[in-house]
Chain length 148, copies 2
DNA sequence: CTTCATGCAAAGTATTTGCAGCGTC
DNA sequence: GACGCTGCAAATACTTTGCATGAAG
């Protein structure tokens, strides 16, 4: 699968959704566009603000419901970097498991990929705890280059 | 420093607090006792319930304020395992940095110590992101032995 | 014209704050 | 008796829900 222009990518997603019986509404397509165009995870408040800029101004309930919808389909995932609110991140088809680093000064959140054996670590944890380990969360905190 | 009976340990903590000007109240000593006697991180609601069992039934504001108090002193730390509420964990004097595993069925939270080089990992992240990495959060999810 | 999606207002959950009174030292 | 601590009620922040209306297919 080759890379596509964002607009083509959005169209592809919308087509798939429509084919599965979902309606394509202004909120839905704008929100998906927003996610695809964003390299960072977004909060509900940020989404609301961004959509307002685009003259959409949906109700917050609708945004939360849309997030639930995309979550259930696995199109986005929920992440939590201890800010007291959740962030949501688009999952490209072959999304690689990755982590985030949060600037404790300005709050910016960036994605990072790590190259260490997380499988092995999970296996260790499973052995130690007796749990069947299904997932994990690993987030870093620090001060970004700009804030230093 | 040798191990002490919980009650002796509590007394020691209370003495230090008193010496620094804090008052020793029923809530304060019970809460500290609760933390010292618990091997797992607690939520505000759990604390409230436990104290009620001990016929204390404090107001939730007081519990939250007491948690803030202990947090500022570094006697407890805040942890977040994506439950929508915070957990608080007692920090023994030479507390070792560790992690948690949460059962996605019954919600039980256990502590685990990992033996892998987290310093090294943080350094890698710092290099990759350009951030000055100050801390990280690593939590595991799975199904506990009882729930399987 | 049938569902799915939306707006609105109200409720829910976790936590915080202002303030007057009480308890510890 | 001074000052820290407490209860209470109200406020805040984020998210969820019920219900009637609206729009996509």
């Amino acid at each position: 699968m080759t890379d596509k222009k964002p607009s083509a990518k959005i169209q592809e997603v919308l087509d798939t959704l429509r084919a599965s019986g979902a309606r394509i509404t202004a909120l839905r397509s704008s929100l998906i566009g927003l996610f695809i165009g964003s390299s960072r995870p977004l909060t509900a408040a940020e989404i609301l603000a961004e959509l307002k800029k685009k003259k959409l101004a949906p109700n917050k309930s609708s945004v939360y419901r849309e997030l639930d919808f995309l979550l259930e389909l696995g199109r986005i995932i929920e992440i939590d970097v201890l800010e007291g609110m959740k962030r949501y991140e688009w999952q490209p088809e072959h999304a690689q498991h990755h982590h985030h680093i949060v600037c404790t000064q300005c709050g910016v959140v960036e994605c990072i990929e790590l190259c260490f054996n997380e499988e092995e670590l999970s296996a260790k944890v499973a052995k130690k705890s007796g749990f069947a380990v299904t997932s994990h969360v690993l987030e870093f905190f620090g001060v970004c280059a700009d804030c230093r």
